[in-house]
Every structure is written in structure tokens, then in C-alpha cells.
Symmetry: C2
Subunit: 204 residues, 2 copies
């Protein structure tokens, strides 16, 4: 069964550029190592929100399950790396998350809305990238292609979870913040980037 | 089936004092709230080790699964709280973890051994406390008694995991550090404590 990713595509302001996809096809090792790091980081972000907002029931309910799922994905990517004898190497983070963070508000109410909207964008972009990568790997690496198709379903669900939480906990409509981060996210994806990572921009 | 907790009991230098158990029977709400916090904290500690030692395969393998299990327990305790209409309240941490932390070394090699040995003690104590609490709740709260019996199995497994990792990653025998933290842990459990929490000492 194919997952309908049209809500993800209409949320994002652009598709992944072809140049990034070409680079990913040639550099599967970095893709795997950075993907493992992203899954670990996603679990850790969810958990840190659970510590910061320990009285928000829906947030705890959804993010604890989300963190568990990210950890399970970490284990799966880690197993793929071991099967393929991909050695761990330290990778610096790309500018992506830091670029989004710069725009995030720090006041109590605004901070929660923004971190949840950014969470939604990161999950949506991951979903869109797995969706674009899967068919490209169908011939050369069908196992990876299948795995990416499996993953994009969870990423699409996580995108919805983050967005629903942002709506639930904001006193104001979130449309403005969604637009601001949507434009910023697309800019980070479409601008030339000196670093190649899972969420990086156009490879230089 | 009963879990054999004799390895846990011989690892710990003392049993939970009767005065703490009496207090716990009278203060189930604090017990639940602090228990939920401990599960969340345990997941977060495991995850932070996964970030600190991203090249240690066995550590990643075991601690990712452990963190997932702690999160599942968090969800279960949280559900019990909601069923019982126990309202979240902020609880300061007891002196227990901070007391252990004071003795932990900071150098690369020593730091990892110590944090893993301390992890083993925290899991072992949790296991011993659930084992002591379960029969006390059999009549008044059979659901909680059953849940504690279920949990002590995982805690016992986590204790073994932490200890095995400490042995695997230490270049020297770990006996000395096990003794040091065993004595310290027992002292924190046996000394009068102004605060009542899941891992606190003798209630004042």
C-alpha cells in the first residue's frame, strides 16, 4: 500500500532538489550515518520536551510514543550499517536545525508553538526525502528502498502529531508561524550548502 | 512465575528499610508521580550515553532498547495516574542520584565505568523496591501489586545490562568501583532523609 504524502507535500514549500538526490545516490554511507544520528536526535528532542512540559498530557502521550519509534528506527538503521560494515564516523550537524532554531521564539507560549511547528517541518521533510529516495534505490539497493518506504509512513504520522500538538497548545492561530518556518525551511533546502547531510541544501 | 532477584539482593548492600515501605504505603500519589519521573529520567540518561559514546556498539544496542522500555513504563505509570486522577505536581529530586554523582570520576575511561555502575545500582534498587512493595499492595491495590511484579523483571534485566556494559568497557576490573558505589548507595538508603521519593532514605 502506498502512503498518501500529499498533505506533506502541500505543507512543504518546495521539493528536494535533484542535485541533493544525485549526491545521496553516490554517498549512501554518509546518508546512513547521518540518518542514524537524526533518529537519535529526534528521540532526544521529544524527550527534552517531555521534561520541559511535564504537565501537558497530550504532549507526553504523543511524544513518548514518538521517541520510542525514533529509537526503534535508530536501531534499524544501526543494524543496516553493521550489515554493510559502514563504520561510525563523527559528522558535524548541517546548518538546517540551527537555521530553524534562530527563528524560534523563547517566551513560554511562543517557544512551545515554534518548537512543535519546527518538529512538524523536520518530520515532513524527512518523509518527503524518503519518498523521493525510495524509487531511486529500487534497482541498486531494493532493501534500502523498501526500508525508506516503510519509514515515510511513520514520518508522515509524526508530522501530523507535531502539527496537532502545535494547534492544541497555541492560544492563537498558528498559520503565521507555519508560514514563517515553511519559507525558512525551503530556503535552507534550496540554498547551496557546503555540507552534505540528510537535511542539507543544494550540494556545492 | 516469580523472578529470582537474589543477584540483585546480593549486589545491593542493604534492603529497603521498613520505615520507607510504611511511608510508601501511606503516600501512593507521590510514589506514582516520582516513579513516572524516574522512568523518564532513566530513558534520558540512556539516551545521553548514546550521544556521548556513539561508537560503542554494544552500548548503543543495549541502551536504545533500554530507553524504549523505560519510555513504555513511563506511559504505563502515566496511564495509572490518569485512571486514578492523580494530578501531576513538580517534585524536586531526592539526594540519591546527586549523592552518587559526587563520587563519579570525570576522566574519559573512569567516567564511563562509573556511570554504568551507578546505572546498575539504580536499576537494582528499583527492582528491590518493587519486589518489597508488591506484596504490601496485594490486598489494598492488587492492580498496582501486579504492575510492580511485572516491572521488577525489567529492572532486574536492566541491572544486568548496565553491569555487563561496565565490565565490557572497563580496562580494569570493576570490583573496586562496584564496592565504592555499593557502600555509598546503602548509606543514602539508610540515612534519615528529609525528602520522600522513590529512591529516598529513611523518612524523617
Amino acid at each position: 500500500m502506498t502512503t498518501d504524502i500529499s498533505p506533506v507535500k502541500s505543507f512543504l514549500h518546495c521539493e528536494t532538489p535533484a542535485a541533493w538526490l544525485d549526491k545521496a545516490l553516490e554517498n549512501k554511507e554518509i546518508l546512513l550515518i547521518d540518518h542514524a544520528r537524526c533518529e537519535k536526535k529526534a528521540a532526544s528532542t521529544a524527550l527534552s520536551l517531555m521534561f520541559k512540559y511535564p504537565e501537558r498530557e497530550q504532549l507526553l502521550h504523543k511524544l513518548s510514543r514518538l521517541a520510542r519509534e525514533e529509537l526503534r528506527h535508530f536501531e534499524q538503521v544501526f543494524d543496516l550499517m553493521r550489515e554493510r560494515k559502514v563504520e561510525y564516523q563523527h559528522l558535524s550537524a548541517s546548518r538546517y536545525a540551527a537555521g530553524m532554531r534562530k527563528e524560534m521564539r523563547t517566551g513560554e507560549e511562543g517557544a512551545l508553538t515554534d518548537v512543535l511547528v519546527v518538529g512538524a517541518y523536520i518530520e515532513a521533510r524527512s518523509c518527503e526525502r524518503f519518498h523521493a529516495l525510495a524509487p531511486l534505490f529500487d534497482e541498486s539497493d531494493p532493501k534500502l528502498a523498501r526500508y525508506y518506504r516503510f519509514l515515510l509512513k511513520s514520518e508522515s504520522r509524526h508530522f501530523t502529531d507535531y502539527l496537532a500538538l502545535a494547534e492544541e497548545y497555541s492560544d492563537e492561530p498558528i498559520d503565521d508561524r507555519v508560514r514563517v518556518f515553511g519559507e525558512l525551511e525551503a530556503e535552507l533546502i534550496n540554498r547551496p550548502d557546503s555540507v552534505y547531510r540528510f537535511h542539507s541544501g543544494i550540494p556545492q
